[in-house]
Structures are given as C-alpha cells and as structure tokens.
C-alpha cells in the first residue's frame, strides 16, 4: 500500500498523557470525513524527546513538525495541510518564518546538536511494527553476530568499543560480558535493568516505548556472546505503555523466529521474559534486582561474588541497563572504531540525558560525551525560564551530586563528573536556578532515599534518617552549631558502612551541596536565614510602608486574614497569623511586599 503522506504521532508517556490517543482518533475521523484515509498513513511512534512541546506530530513528505497539538487543532491540520497542502505555520516547531519549513525539525537547535545512537529509532519508527525496525537495519547485527562472528569476537568488538554501562557506575560492558563468558556452567542468564527509578530520569522508558526491538536484539546478541539461552527484562510496573509495547515486540520477534530455537538457522536459541518490579528504588541495584526476579523480597546482598560469577539462581549472569543495550546493535554494525570516534578519551559514544527542572526545553536529549554543560543548558535546553540565573545542575539523581555554575564549561563525561563530586548515573539532569535553595534540594533527595531504603543494613536505614532529621531541622530554622559537622560525619560513615550502592551513594547530594554551597548551609544554621528565599520557616513577608498605597488588595486576598489596615494608609502583616503563602506578594501591584 502506497501512501502519499505519513503522519507520525508521538505516543510516548508524556504525549499520551496530553491526549495523543484522542488526537489519533480525531485524525482518523477527519481523514475519513475528507475521504483521504487511504492516502494518508497514521504512524504511532515513540518519544521524539521534546516532551515540553508535546504532543508532537510530524507530517511527511514535508517533514513539518507540529507541536502542542490538541484534538481541536487536528481538523485544521487535516483541512489545511493534508487536503490543501498548506503547512499550518502557527503550529510549527522552530523558526516559523523559515522558508524551508520542510527541514524545520533538523533546523531546531534542540535536535541539530544531538547525536542519536540509543534513541536512533525513537520517534522515527512505529514501535509496534517489527518490519519498521527491520527496515532500519534491525536484527542485522544479530544476523551478523550469529553467522559471521564467534562469541569471543562479539565480546572483543564490544570491549574494543570501550562502551561503559549507561545505568550508573560506568563499568566497561565488554569486560562484564567477558567475565560471564569465562564461567563454565550449564546455565547462564542475560538480564536487563529497566527498573528506572531515579526521579526525573526517563530515557529507558523512552527506548522501551519507542524502540523495544533494539533491546531484544541486543539481549540476544549478549546471550550468544556469553552462552546463555534465557534472558529477563526487569521493568517497573509503573511503565504500563513500555511493558505493553515490549510484550508486543517479544511476541513479534518470536513469530518471526528472531527469538526461540535455531535463530537464523544456526544452533543458537534464545528467549526472553518480562518480570515486573513493584517500584522499589533499591531493585535497581543489581543484586536486589536479581533477588526480586527470583521471587524474593528485593534486598541487596554483599558482593563479591559478582553476578557474572554467581547471579540469578546462583548462575553466571550479566546485567546491563536499557540504554547500554541500545548501543550494542549499532556498535556491531558500524564497528568499534566508528564508536571510538565519538566522545572523549575515556568516555566513548553518547549519553542520553533527561533534562528537567528550571529549563525551557524539558525533554530527552542524546549528546556525544564531552559536550559541555553550557551547551546542554543554553543551546539544547533553550536556557532558563524568565531569564533567571543558572545556579547548578544535579546529575545522577539521589545518588549523584550537583555541578555549580562555576563549572558550566566542563565537558560532561564519566570521569569529569566524578571529579566534580557528582556522577553520570542514569542520566537525569535537574537544572536549578537562583530561586532554588541547595539545602532544600539536598533534603528532597535524602527524603527520597530514606523512603526507599530497604532497611536491611543499619547505616542506610538509620543513618540516612538521622541525616534527614538534621536537614529538616536546619531548613526549619532550628539549626544548631555543629549540625554541619554532624552531617559530614554521618555521610562519611554511611558511605563506608552501607551494604549496597543505594546506601553508599545516599549522602552524595548532601556532600556535594556542602562542597559547593557551604555558605548556604551556614546562613541557615548560624543566621537562620534562607538566602534563596525557599525555606518557609525562615521567611518573613513585610509591607514596605513607603511603597504601600493602601489599596487593600492584599488584605482581601490573604487566605488567613493576616493583613489589616485602613484604606489609603500602609497595611500591616500580622506575623503570628501569616502562613507565608506569598499570595500578597503576587497580587500587589506596587511591589510593596518584600520577602526576607
């Protein structure tokens, strides 16, 4: 069937939440009404990455990219673009006056600065149609590995590519495979960690939703390399769309014989199963994850023995993250040398970041290693809303740390981030501006780890709780002399004493903010003052008598009746009643209210 036009609609979680399914339904209806449903093909895709501008719709052959599409705008697009051939410029992404709108997608800095390997098919193919994946050279790497390479050659190629784990630690993937391959055992396992739990990180979800076959192909390759016939994908149950598409993809691969017995007529057999996680952060830790797959409560155990020696059900197991796997087929097809040309000396390839927080283009970007933070924030991210000042970026989620503005020109790679006291982690990147209080941020992340601690070891279970209590006290204006030193002592002890990665890294947000923003901590503790004006307990709203015109607006809007006065005379805030909601400041037309 030949269509004159393809309409791609993002069906990632973000766009689905902002009515993409309804848009699809309206589009089908509108096409049928115009009698052109046989000329225009609707293609459901994964995430384009520009979630901030969603729902996204791309119309080919023009390549016109429409953003913020709503169900009500569908008819206009159909009538104007698909019937009359006039691009609806008002809805276009990027330069609306550009003459060559056909290429507008590539012309937007958000996309043109990216280099997509792991996300290569996201937003390009229909993830529920295996043929489209195959058209983009899908399963060709598996075919190449099975028919032209020995398992050792596959491992050598991955080793040579210098691919490092994209899930957190950055361990060399090829080396991990080698360890497992060297084990002699009748049964080995290939596992995938799709239990993406970092707040703000969603690249794994995007790959699962937008290109599930790449994971299946890569895991089969890994199975061939280490000598395993069974794989497990551990994915969190909170990702319903990802789970559904993954299951569809597995079924299609089985139907095509790309999973199952004697793949490509060789004697290699491999199959995959999905295991759903109930959403515990600790289950992203490898030993806890495997314990959970085995059907036990997700708790970590000591290492060594490492999973490559004794993993799932005591058998040699490799465990890689979704994004790491997504790189494998491309490396095998294009070669390790090609991959080595991308990135920095010790960090090769690209990394996907989920950028969020105080940034204009919230979304998913894949950039070569070595791109500077400045490029990410200002060129790709479109800068900070309302022209505010960049203060810091948190990378690595609750296990990572922050990079302050002084280091904005640092090239991002594994080693530089470690040097700065942060880490790559899974790639969540939260941008903070001058209005963010760093003590409050540290408290936020620590609250998360306190909640998510599995409770098995005391340093993590009790230590993080004590740290949280101190931070809570500090942000409530009750900080005491010596609190900062106590925090540091606790942090170091937890780092050394905790059983698993979750506990060992839990103090990082505190240590890192202390390293760069110690003055903010001191202001909280010694002067009982929050420099960013975030910690409510230390704030005081007052009316500047000189500026107040006595209009009474603030008094009318105050939800607790804390403001009183006489018309045309300066008003007063009763501090004992004030709940510090800030409404008065918002409504005042004369900037007569200050917050300190």
């Amino acid at each position: 069937m030949v269509y004159r036009s393809h309409v791609l609609i993002c069906n990632g979680t973000g766009c689905t939440a902002s009515k993409a399914p309804e848009i699809m339904a309206r589009l089908e209806k509108a096409l049928a009404e115009k009698g052109i449903e046989k000329e225009v093909k609707i293609v459901k895709t994964g995430c384009f990455g520009l979630c901030e501008k969603g729902p996204i719709m791309v119309v080919y052959p023009e390549g016109a990219t429409y953003c913020h599409v709503t169900p009500d705008k569908v008819e206009e697009i159909v009538n104007e673009h698909l019937v009359k051939g006039r691009i609806v410029k008002d809805l276009l992404l990027g330069d609306k006056d550009a003459e060559d709108v056909a290429k507008s997608l590539d012309n937007v800095a958000f996309f043109s600065r990216q280099f997509r390997i792991a996300l290569r098919n996201c937003g390009v193919i229909n993830p529920e149609v295996i043929d489209e994946y195959i058209a983009k050279d899908g399963y060709a790497a598996l075919a190449k590995a099975l028919t032209e390479m020995t398992p050792q050659q596959v491992i050598d190629e991955i080793k040579k590519s210098n691919l490092r784990g994209r899930g957190g630690g950055g361990f060399p993937t090829g080396l991990k495979w080698q360890f497992a391959a060297d084990q002699v055992n009748d049964q080995k396992y290939v596992c995938c960690n799709a239990d993406e739990g970092d707040p703000g990180a969603f690249m794994d979800r995007s790959i699962l939703e937008g290109d599930p076959h790449t994971l299946i192909e890569a895991m089969a390759i890994a199975g061939y390399a280490i000598g395993s016939n069974q794989g497990y994908i551990y994915v969190r149950a909170e990702y319903p769309i990802a789970v559904q598409r993954l299951q569809i993809a597995i079924n299609q691969a089985r139907e095509y014989g790309l999973l199952g017995k004697n793949i490509f007529g060789t004697d290699f057999s491999f199959d995959l199963d999905i295991r759903l996680g109930a959403g515990a952060f600790v289950c992203g830790e490898e030993t806890a994850l495997m314990t959970s797959i085995e059907g036990h409560r997700g708790e970590p155990r000591t290492r060594p023995p490492f999973p490559a020696v004794k993993g799932l059900w005591g058998k040699p197991t490799i465990l890689n993250n979704v994004e790491s796997y997504a790189n494998i087929p491309v490396i095998l097809l294009k070669g390790a040398d090609w991959f080595n040309n991308i990135g920095t000396e010790k960090s090769k390839g690209t990394k996907v970041f989920a950028i969020g927080g105080k940034i204009n283009n919230t979304g998913l970007v894949e950039i070569p290693m070595g791109t500077t933070l400045r490029e990410v924030v200002y060129d790709i991210g479109g800068g900070i809303p309302k022209g505010k000042k960049f203060k810091a970026a948190q990378t690595g989620g609750p296990s990572g740390g922050c990079i302050p503005a002084d280091y904005i020109d640092t090239p991002i790679d594994y080693d530089n981030l470690i040097k700065l006291g942060s880490m790559m982690g899974s790639g969540g990147m939260i941008i903070m501006d001058e209005d963010n209080c760093m003590v409050d941020i540290a408290k936020f992340f620590l609250e998360f780890t306190v909640d998510e601690s599995c409770g098995k070891c005391p340093p993590c279970r009790i230590g993080t709780k004590r740290m949280y209590e101190i931070l809570d006290r500090i942000t409530n204006g009750k900080g005491e002399e010596g609190d900062i030193e106590k925090l540091e002592l606790l942090a170091e002890s937890i780092k050394q004493g905790a059983l698993c990665g979750l506990g060992q890294t839990a103090p990082n947000p505190v240590l890192s903010t202390l390293r760069y923003f110690r003055d903010e901590y001191e202001a909280h503790v010694k002067e009982h003052r929050c420099p960013a004006g975030v910690c409510k307990a230390m704030l005081k709203y007052t009316i500047i008598a000189d500026k107040c015109k006595g209009c009474s607006l603030c008094s009318k809007k105050c939800p607790v009746g804390a403001i009183s006065g006489e018309i045309k005379k300066p008003y007063l805030i009763d501090q004992s009643k004030c709940i510090k909601c800030g409404v008065c400041m918002e409504v005042c037309k004369f900037a007569a209210i200050e917050k300190k």
């Binding site: 004159r4 052959p61 051939g85 075919a143 014989g257 793949i263």
Partner: protein
C-alpha cells in the same frame, strides 16, 4: 527467521514504504491542490505520480501538495524540483501526462517540454 535473505526482503520492502519519511535532498514533485487544482483534476494527477513512481520502484522522489500558485487557468499544475533545486513547471496535466513525466523527466532526466508552462503560453 531462518535466513538473512528473509530479513533482507522484509527490510527492503518496508524501507520502500518508509522512504517518504526521509528528509534528504531528493527530487520533489509538488502538485497544486488548491480548490482550482482539485476542480481541474489534480487528484488523479497526484495519484498517477505516486502510482507510477511506485511501479517503477523509485524511492528517491517525494510527492507532496501545495496550494494555488496563481495560474488557475492552467491547472492542474505540478512542479518538479531536481536535487539541485532546478524547478520545472508542468501545466494542464492529467494522469497520462503525469506518467509520462515520471518516465521521461524522472527516469530519463529529460524535461517534457510540451507540457511545460512555457509551451502552454506560447
């Protein structure tokens, strides 16, 4: 999947269907599909272009629509943009003429002079 040939066959077939989504420099055929064009029969012309290209397995040519370019009396109008950006304007088309344009202009790189706007205006 028992052989690489099978995989290749699926790849080639689907790639052809998806070629419309490639945005590289390629030949574009743009058909005027405003009210005047449609009334004069632009729709069968467009279908003929798509059908003929498909029959001949030509993937590097895109067919898209545009609005009225102002010479309504000469509709249906289609313009062929070569990869170099060179533009040829064909007028008073029908399905048969469209097929000839594919055969002569697209395949053999020879402009069909008798259908161009220059010939019609002479």
């Amino acid at each position: 999947m028992k052989s690489i040939e099978e995989l290749k066959a699926i790849r080639d077939k689907t790639l052809k269907e998806m070629s419309i989504r490639d945005n590289e420099d390629k030949v574009r055929i743009v058909v005027g599909m405003a009210t005047c064009g449609i009334a004069a029969g632009a729709k069968p012309v467009m279908s003929a272009f798509i059908d003929e290209l498909n029959k001949r397995n030509i993937n590097n040519v895109s067919v898209s629509m545009t609005g009225c370019i102002g010479i309504c009396r000469l509709e249906p109008v289609a313009e062929v943009f070569d990869s170099s950006g060179e533009k040829t304007t064909y007028v008073k088309l029908d399905a048969e003429k469209a097929r000839r344009i594919v055969a002569e202009h697209i395949v053999n790189q020879k402009v069909v002079t008798e259908f161009t706007v220059g010939a019609a205006e002479r």
